[in-house]
Amino acid sequence: MIENIRLSFRGILSHKMRSFLTMLGIIIGIAAIIAIVSTIQGTNEQIQKNLIGSGVNNVRISLNQGDWEYDYSSGIPDGIVPVTDEQLADLRKIRHAENVSLYHQRQDYDGVYHAATSLSGGYVMGIDTSYLDAAGLQIRSGRGISSEDLLHFRKVCLLDTDSSNSLFQGEDPLNQTIEIRGEPFVIVGTVGDKESFQPLIKTMTDYYTYSGEKSGKVYIPSTCWPVLYQYDEPEYVVIRADKTENMTAIGKDAESILNQNISGDYTYKAQNLMEQAKQIQQLSQSTNTMLIWIAAISLLVGGIGVMNIMLVSFTERTSEIGLKKAIGAPKKAILIQFLTEAVVLTSLGGILGVITGIILAYLISNLNGTPVAISVPASVFAVAFSMAIGIVFGILPSYKAANLDPIEALRRE
């Protein structure tokens, strides 16, 4: 076998030009597929990253009325109670959930002031010590909310980057005081997204989605919530998943736990970013599937090219085949020799195609600004597939060679 492969390589190298032209079809086909797949994969990863945030993976569950998120500023609906201790314990038991935190949230259009500057459209969040970790936030300066803050109802708060920019315009906000609903709160820290989160905004929709998130948040101890807003306001839930893939399942589990004791028009719903990401991905995928089909046609043409060249090379080498049969090569040996040659040729084409495809993918990404993710399974599959092409399109010429009449073959010179 090794002998056969060695001989095939020698054959291929002795006809460099012809071998290259034969492989060209395979190279182009495989390169096109790899380039398309890499671009799709890159775009998908980007979409996922933009919507979910890499390494953050948090699932938020909120109360919905019908299809809309319920806003507690219009009062607590009948029969809706805060999350019970049993429910929280159950939430913590969900598989793949790494951290669970309950929090309050209110979009307070005219509630937060620093001197005369208002944080219009900003969010006030009532959090406990577990929130920052569960939501994937990092302390940028100062400290977080401590258990003492919660225990002593301390009027302290954290700002995120956006609220800090809106209220202080680049000034250091630490130890300054802001007013929330007329109550003074001392800023003890600032928080930001994890550094790995890098949003990319490409369309207006992206912009609106993202800017909605960007209006700024102020975090206060959850025990202070009743002072500003109302008692017994039900909490939102944020759960950090271990992996992005598990977010949907965690969301489902959390929904069923929280929906146990409520009824009517109200339901808890997980904000399913994973699902949203998938929908967008599917959209880009369906257009690219067509491209893959087109590339597959070029692979087919490449395969036919291989068959052609094999048939030509077999006519050229009739006397070689005749001699080999005369000196005692069995049919099987000739068949294997030719088949190996076809497979080596197409595999080589496949490998070159993968390399070309990767280069092409980077070129496309440079021109279009789309990201690239080289898919190892796709590359392996591409090479395996070109091997299969070698077998499929090599079998006819090889079979012909193996069944050649040695007398006839030796007569032709």
Binding site: E3, G11, G328, K331
Partner: protein
Amino acid sequence: MLLELKDICRNYGTGQAVVVALKNACLQVNEGDYIAIMGPSGSGKTTLMNVLGCLDKADSGTYILDGIDISAMNDNELSDVRLHKIGFVFQTFQLLAGETALDNVALPLIYAGVKKEEREKRAAEALEKVGLGERLSFYPSQLSGGQKQRVAIARAMINNPRILLADEPTGALDQASGRQVMELFRKLNEEGTTVIMITHDANVAKNAEKVMYIVDGELSDHFGGDVHEQ
């Protein structure tokens, strides 16, 4: 007896266009014989050679080689017989242009399943024996006609065949090279190899112990009236 042909017939074509290539050919060859078969072109020489070499099957008659009935064998068994019992030498050498002398000689050993080192060792010895020990890594294009034919002979002998079959072995060679090849055949025959050589050249045929003639597909051990020496 090493080899026996009994009433071998071989026709080509069908219906009106039947060409009779061999007509009731009988031949007996003992171990160590050196036989030349002479005949003009179109007399059935090559067909006889192909039948003897197990490349072609007779339409009727029996062929016993080394005690085995060849007539009843299938393709794979025939290639095995060619591999182990027959060595071919052709007029046009039939060397693989892309392979060195050593690899050309070692080729049959690949099919015999011999390991690489062993193959190279034996091929080198065989080339040594035909006087080409210095040219192991030469390609056919770098060798003269006589040298090429000696490489071909080394290849034919590599598997220690029972018969060496040569089809016009000197046909493409000048006289000096032809003599060298004949010298080699004589030496191999003296060492016990059975040689059957087909030629139309009486001077070449003289080297054999026994000369047979074939005319219009009929094989006989005496010179028929209508065959003219060339």
